[in-house]
Each structure stands twice: as structure tokens, then as C-alpha cells.
Amino acid sequence: MLPDRPEPPLGRRLLSVVEARDEGAFRLLTLLDDEGPEPLPGQFYMVTRAPDWGGGLGRPYLPRALSFAGTTGMANGVSIEFLLDEVGPGTRELSRLSPEDECWVAGPFGRPFSRAGELTEGAAGAVLVGGGIGIAPLAPLRRDLIARGVPTRVLLGFREPAAAGGVDRLFGCEEVRVAYEAGSDSPARVTDLLSVVLAGDDAGRSAVYSCGPPGMLEAVRRMCADRGVTAELALESPMACGYGACFGCAVPRRDGGYLRLCIDGPVVRGDEIESAEAGEAGS
């Protein structure tokens, strides 16, 4: 077993949908997991509509990787929340599910976020930087940090108010700052908020955690590198299997070669990779 990771059940399992509702621009899907362990913030699952995908012309075909956005312990298992951004046929079908429907699920998989203390020697606090659907894995991370008494600031960014979703439900409002690139009276990027925070003197002693679009992640990565702040980033790449079988999820390592993002990630330290944009189409 990989150190400090909960052991997922063998193979895949059928889980039923217990709740499905819109959260702003996103869809919140809750499954009841009566077999699997509590996942750790940053981990993900491979999800397929059951009995199988409904792609009339053959797509979707592979399972889809989804970070969990929250969990609740229940008498009969763990209920797992997923936040969905409908970008194509797979997320579309998952967004159409309703209670009583079922999904094939494998996981939890992947390397979770590190504890603040492990990431930053004697960390004074944590800064969470999320963009778009990338806010999903930060929600359970925030709860975990707060439970551990780590002072935590949350900075979230969206293209525009209409593109936001899940903020109140997943984060509660206190301590959360949201930036909109457009459509608000004070347009800003989440990285603008971050630079202000990092300008503060305890910056060097805070642990930064981020997830969002590649461009944003790369900006966060550089900003932190420049200021000598350690940052962990939750990356994405096309994942066919999620458990190390296909070698498809390659992300270039800083020191040459590639990470298998599904097992060596999805969470990586900023200095482990060349760029958070590598692997973007045509890069």
C-alpha cells in the first residue's frame, strides 16, 4: 500500500445517488458509499453511470475522474459529494442523474494534500486558492485544516458571477474571498488576491494549496516560487484508469521524465513539475 492512503475496495462498486441538485453553475451529486473508506482531501474517484454510459455514438466510454468535494459519515456508510462542471458528454450524463440512479465507482485514488505542517515547516496558516470547478477538492481540505486548528484563508475565483457555484454550500461564507474576472464592479483575478495575501509578512510561513484551470495554477506556482512559499497543486490530465494501469496521465517532472498523475498525484508540490500547463493540448 502507498503510505498514508486509505485502502480502496478492490475493483469497482455500484453506489446509489442520494442527492442531485444545482449549485449555481455547477451540479452537486451525492453518492452513498457503503463499502469504501473515508477519502483524504485531494483524492478522487473514477465514476461511470450504471449500468453503463449512454453515449449513443460510443462516448462517453471511459470512467470520469472526479475529486470529492465533501463527505458525511452515515450509519450505513459515507456519503460522498461531487461538484460537476458540465463540459462534455461524461459530465453531462452525470449531471442528469437523480436519486435511485446508480454509478460504478472505483477509488478513492491518488495522493492527497499534505498536512500544513508537513508542507511548510511550522506553518503559520494555510491559503487555499481555487478557480472554477477547481474549488471542489479545496472544500474538504478547508474543513480538515480548520478541524486541525490551522488558520485558513480561502481565495476563490470565477470568470463571472454566473459561472460560480457551490461556494456557500461547500465553504460557508466566513473567511472566503471571491474574485470575478468580469461582471462585477471590481473585476479581479484570484491571483490578485493571492499576491496581496503573499505580500503579508507571514507569507513565507503559510502553506498554499491550489486547484483550478492550468493557467491559474501555473500563475500560483510561479508566484509562490518567486516568494519562496511552498505550494501544493491539484492537477488534471486525461485519465483512462485512475489506478496506474494505462500510463496515460503523464505530467512532465521538473527533473525529467513523467509523473503518473493518478498515483504520483493529482496533488503535487509546485517544484516537482515543470509547469502546471504542460500537457495542455498542443503544448
Binding site: 469497482r12 460510443g58 462516448r59 466510454y61 472505483a106 489506478y243 494505462c246 496515460g248 503523464a250 498515483i263
Partner: protein, 310 residues
């Protein structure tokens, strides 16, 4: 209903079932790390023999991203054979793979016959391996020919390897030729213990957003249910052409599709891409295969082999 027996024999190896894995579609070591050692126990291991990912003499990092594309009822991959190279494979991987509860088949690829020779010699010397699968979907740097596209190259390669290992050699046929049965005949003539097919079909996809190919390597290979009808036809014609056993694969997703390959003439079947959709796909296929036999009132898989091969 009598429980059908799936036990079979392949190139001298007694197998608990005809269901093995396609090279490069299941990393036993990663599965053990992700799901825990129990994933590799004899009760849980999904396959009756394990075929390693293709290894080369020197380490390879593999191709730049993106490496996969989802296609209609299938996927394109251009992984680029990332592997630790012969030395590290023998040192770090072989000790683990040797402990698997099933026979081990090592897939190898090289740029020329000497390279193949050193690979089979080195792995054979290390021990604990039951057979080799020769991945010949690569050019011979000397002749410039893709080995798997030329019967002469395949036969010449097999002739050479005979003096470097006593282990059975399986030729992994490429489907990207006009007549795979001719390559299979050359493999048989060269002394191959078996042939396996199909490997992936040359394919490509374009980035919807940019005007570049989606795959970092430009193009790749198509696998999954989409190619099954092509694979079934190639298995039929190869099985009709040679008398050595055929390992059939290409889009196997369940017991019925596995049975189709056996009815088409395959002695064993390999599950590939379906492993990505279901980490225990091999177990599922084996279970359904037994049920399918029972539904037909058949007791051993052999009774159906090649039933529809011609």
C-alpha cells in the same frame, strides 16, 4: 447445470482460465500499491497469466502528453512504452512479478535482433519467467522495415532468439497489415510457440480547440470495442492459417465477447482496455465466460474453440 471448467493449457502452461491481460493494460505493481497486496493474491488476481508491459533494453520515459483520447466505443493511446529498461526491470520489477500467483510472460521490444537477443537472454538468466511476448510493432533499424509487417523479419528474429532462450516465444501481431495470417505463418515457420493479436490500430484525433493533433506523439493506436469486429476477423483468418495457439484480443468487454474470440479460434483471450473501466475486468470476464458455457451446456472451453473459425 454442471459447472463448466475453464482450465486450459497454453504453450505448455496450465492455466486456470483462458483469460489473461493485454500487455500494457494492467500494471500489477501499481495495482498492488493502490489496492493493497491482497489485489495480487491468488483469489483476487484477475488473470490466469500475467503479461508485463513491454520493456526495452534502455529505460524509456514515454511520450509527451496527451497520451490518450476517448474515441467512439474505444480509445486512442500513444503511451510510448515507458519502462525502466532491462537492468532495473530485472532488479526492481521481476522480483515482485515473479511472486504473482500466475505464470509470467514478459513483453519485450528492441530496435534490432541483437537488442531482442540481449533482452531475452538477460530476462531468461534472471529466471522466474514462463514465456516472452515479442512486440514487433517497431522498425528494425538495419532493414528499416517494421518487423511485424514483414514475414521475413519475424522469421529471422525468431531464428536468432532461439539460441538465447529456451522459453516459448509469442509473436504479438500488428493489425495494420493487409494479411496478418501471412505474418502468423512466418511466425509459425520461425518456431513461435503462439501468436497474439490484435495490437492497436493506427489512429489519430485532432484537438477540438487548437489545430494540432490531440496526442503529444501526433498519432497513436485505437483499442476497445470499436476494433472488436476487426480483431474477430483477423483471429479467424490467423487461426485458419496456423496450427500454433492464438491469443485473441481487441475490445473484449464481457463473457460473450471473450467467447466470440474463442469461437473464432483463439486458445486464450486477453483483456485490455476494459481493465481501465473495471480494475477487476479479468475476473468479470472469467465469471461470465463460465456462465456462458453453462448456458450452452458445454463443459470445457475446448469444445467451442474455433467453432466458427471458418
Amino acid at each position: 447445470m454442471t459447472a463448466a471448467s475453464l482450465e486450459t493449457e497454453l504453450i505448455g502452461l496450465p492455466l486456470s482460465s483462458p483469460v489473461i491481460n493485454g500487455s500494457g493494460t494492467f500494471d500489477a505493481i501499481a495495482a498492488g500499491r493502490v489496492f493493497g497486496e491482497r489485489a495480487l493474491s491468488s483469489e483476487n488476481f484477475p488473470f490466469s497469466a500475467y503479461v508485463s508491459k513491454t520493456i526495452t533494453e534502455q529505460p524509456r520515459a514515454g511520450n509527451p502528453p496527451f497520451r490518450t483520447w476517448e474515441a467512439p466505443a474505444g480509445m486512442i493511446n500513444s503511451i510510448g512504452l515507458p519502462n525502466p529498461g532491462l537492468a532495473h526491470f530485472v532488479e526492481d520489477h521481476l522480483p515482485v512479478l515473479r511472486q504473482l500467483p500466475v505464470p509470467l510472460i514478459v513483453s519485450v521490444m528492441a530496435e534490432d535482433r541483437d537488442g531482442f537477443s540481449r533482452l531475452v537472454e538477460g530476462v531468461t538468466a534472471a529466471g522466474g519467467v514462463s514465456a516472452f511476448e515479442l512486440n514487433v510493432s517497431c522498425p528494425n533499424v538495419h532493414s528499416g522495415l517494421i518487423v511485424g509487417e514483414s514475414g521475413k523479419e519475424v522469421e529471422g528474429l525468431l531464428d536468432r532468439l532461439g539460441s538465447f532462450t529456451d522459453l516459448p516465444l509469442i509473436i504479438k501481431l500488428t493489425p495494420n497489415v493487409a494479411r496478418p495470417e501471412e505474418i502468423a505463418e512466418a511466425a509459425e515457420a520461425g518456431g513461435a510457440a503462439a501468436v497474439s493479436l490484435v495490437n492497436t490500430l493506427k489512429a489519430a484525433a485532432l484537438d477540438p480547440a487548437s489545430d494540432r493533433p490531440w496526442l503529444g506523439a501526433g498519432s497513436g493506436g485505437l483499442s476497445g470495442p470499436a476494433i472488436r469486429p476487426i480483431a474477430i476477423q483477423q483471429v479467424r483468418s490467423v487461426s485458419a492459417a496456423v496450427s500454433i495457439p492464438v491469443i485473441g484480443m481487441g475490445g473484449i468487454t464481457d463473457g460473450e465477447s471473450a467467447l466470440d474470440f474463442i469461437r473464432a479460434g483463439a486458445s486464450a483471450v486477453a483483456v485490455g482496455t476494459e481493465n481501465f473501466r473495471d480494475p477487476l475486468a479479468g475476473t468479470m470476464v472469467r465469471t461470465e465466460l463460465a456462465r456462458a458455457l453453462e448456458r450452452r451446456g458445454i463443459e470445457t472451453i475446448g469444445e467451442l474453440r474455433g467453432a466458427a473459425s471458418t
